[in-house]
């Protein structure tokens, strides 16, 4: 946030005092809310040691949280790969010179971007378990991966397309001028640049995949959230278990977001110019993709 100070003058002695007062008031306000919440939860014994000590035991991590995390990462990892494949396939399809192919890809992408992932998971789970020869115990995993792929693949397809459309017109014109066909220009000039430009957004999409994989617990996929809830059921510490699960999710996702930001800065020379105005007030803020 190097250029942020343009919104306000460098504070003088009076403003500095005022800012200090606001700092203290703001801090007290936040602490006050936290205190009320903590106090209320403490009254309900949510902070008694017995509810939290299980998380200090290795067996809790060994048999419950880590296997759950592994399952979450497995589902998310596979979904990342299949989403990229799906996204590239349909992204290129939408750029195709063949009109019917373009239309089909448009319809597929727009449809799956509009349908809630949870709806797809619930349906696919029942579908895989009941209408396919797939082993029923594999149905939750398959449903999670396919649902995540259809949605996030469609988002990536859109990223590919908008990445190409976002390139300066001159790139395509130059390609055509040196005698390339439109398809050749797309393949060897525009798409490579678009892929570089979309990398940070793509990484942001991985956060969405990881987070959405948590919906899998609703259809019985034994991921981190499911295992945490199961543990909470047995040990009578549902809220602490959920908090620990949430903390793990936040940690991993922040790591991914951080990587995305670093990457976009690394690619800054190339991607930055394509994505952001140079005179932006907050040039470092990577526009976070929404789910």
């Amino acid at each position: 946030m190097s250029n942020q100070a343009v919104l306000f003058d460098v504070p003088g002695p009076k403003a500095k005092r005022r800012i200090l007062v606001f700092n203290v008031l703001g801090g007290l306000f936040v602490l006050g809310i936290l205190a009320v919440a903590v106090n209320g939860l403490a009254e309900k014994d949510q902070f008694e040691a017995a509810k939290w000590t299980p998380f200090l035991e290795w067996s809790t991590w060994q048999f419950t949280l880590l296997p759950g995390l592994l399952a979450t990462l497995q589902a998310a990892g596979v979904a990342v790969l299949t989403s990229i494949a799906f996204g590239l396939l349909f992204g290129f399809g939408r750029l195709s010179g063949v009109a019917p192919l373009r239309w089909v890809c448009d319809v597929v992408v727009e449809f799956f971007r509009a349908v809630p992932v949870l709806l797809m998971m619930i349906f696919l789970y029942q579908f895989f378990a009941k209408s396919t020869p797939m082993e029923a115990s594999n149905a939750p995993f398959a449903a999670v991966v396919v649902a995540l792929t259809l949605y996030n693949g469609s988002v990536i397809a859109e990223l590919v397309r908008s990445g190409v459309f976002g390139l300066p017109k001159g790139q395509r014109e130059a390609g055509l001028a040196i005698g390339l066909t439109p398809a050749q220009s797309l393949r060897s000039i525009e798409i490579p640049q678009a892929l570089v430009a979309m990398l940070p957004a793509l990484l942001g999409q991985f956060v969405v995949i990881l987070k959405d994989s948590a919906l899998g617990y609703i259809i019985g996929y034994t991921d981190l959230l499911a295992n945490a809830q199961r543990f909470g059921a047995g040990a009578g510490n549902m809220l602490p278990s959920l908090l620990v699960a949430a903390a793990i999710f936040i940690l991993i996702n922040m790591l991914l977001t951080f990587t995305a930001q670093r990457l976009s800065r690394l690619l800054g020379a190339r991607a930055g110019k394509l994505l952001q105005r140079e005179d932006a007030i907050d040039p470092e803020g990577v526009e976070a993709p929404v789910k």
Binding site: V6, L41, Q46, P116, Q126, L239, G285, V290
Partner: protein, 224 residues
């Protein structure tokens, strides 16, 4: 297929969708207000507010919505005994709106910040040069332009919000995804038709929002 249509006499699909639309409507307002406040915090001169805004966005953006939803039911209502209204079902409806607002406010904040990025430096400098302090400068000069530049990302947040209302089933709200689950379990023979009915319902809601925001973002874009 005859049995398929008879199925709709036993289940009120329209009422379930209406629930999703209501959730989305109120949560959209809630998250827009909260998100704007957070965005102002994040560009403000006061360090503690900036820090709070950043922490808020990092926490809520990276937590799965279902955890927030379950937590507001079990924590806010179940332990802290937060009751907004006496009506039982309405109270859970409001808890669901609260969860949706808290979650999507983080994305609204980032969308507005990306809108702030489209405002040229000169605007902020001009605001300062005519003597505006931070709040008036943000409110009168920066935010109006930022909103116009943020319509497309805000539209994406709204679309995500509409779809995420399906997670409200975790807060005991009778909405579309829960109804679809019940219907599929009851009539697995027509599950594909049931799924397509609900899916198309969401397509019908979501695609116009997408078209509208695309149109609006072009129409209202600040010409530079």
């Amino acid at each position: 297929m005859g049995g398929f249509f008879a199925l709709f006499e036993g289940y009120d699909v329209v009422a379930a969708f209406w629930m999703n639309i209501q959730l989305a409507f109120w949560a959209a307002i809630g998250s827009l207000v909260l998100g704007t406040v957070l965005a102002v915090m994040r560009i403000s001169p006061i360090a503690s507010l900036r820090w709070f805004g950043t922490a808020y966005v990092n926490i809520f953006r990276n937590t799965p919505l279902t955890i927030i939803m379950v937590f507001s039911v079990l924590g806010l209502w179940g332990q802290l005994q937060v009751n907004f209204v006496n009506d039982f079902d309405l109270n859970f409806f409001m808890l669901a709106i609260l969860s949706l607002s808290l979650y999507h406010a983080a994305f609204v904040c980032e969308a507005i910040r990306s809108g702030v990025n489209t405002v040229p430096l000169g605007q902020a400098e001009a605001a300062r040069s005519i003597g505006l302090s931070f709040l008036p400068a943000a409110w009168l000069i920066i935010l109006p332009q930022a909103f116009r530049g943020a319509i497309a990302p805000l539209g994406n947040v709204l679309i995500a919000l509409v779809k995420n209302t399906t997670v409200a089933a975790a807060a005991s709200v009778a909405e579309a995804s829960g109804l679809m689950k019940t219907m599929i379990e009851f009539r697995p023979d027509v599950m594909t038709q049931i799924f397509l009915t609900f899916a198309i319902g969401f397509v019908v809601i979501v695609i116009p929002i997408g078209l509208l925001t695309t149109w609006a973002s072009k129409k209202l874009a600040v010409a530079r």
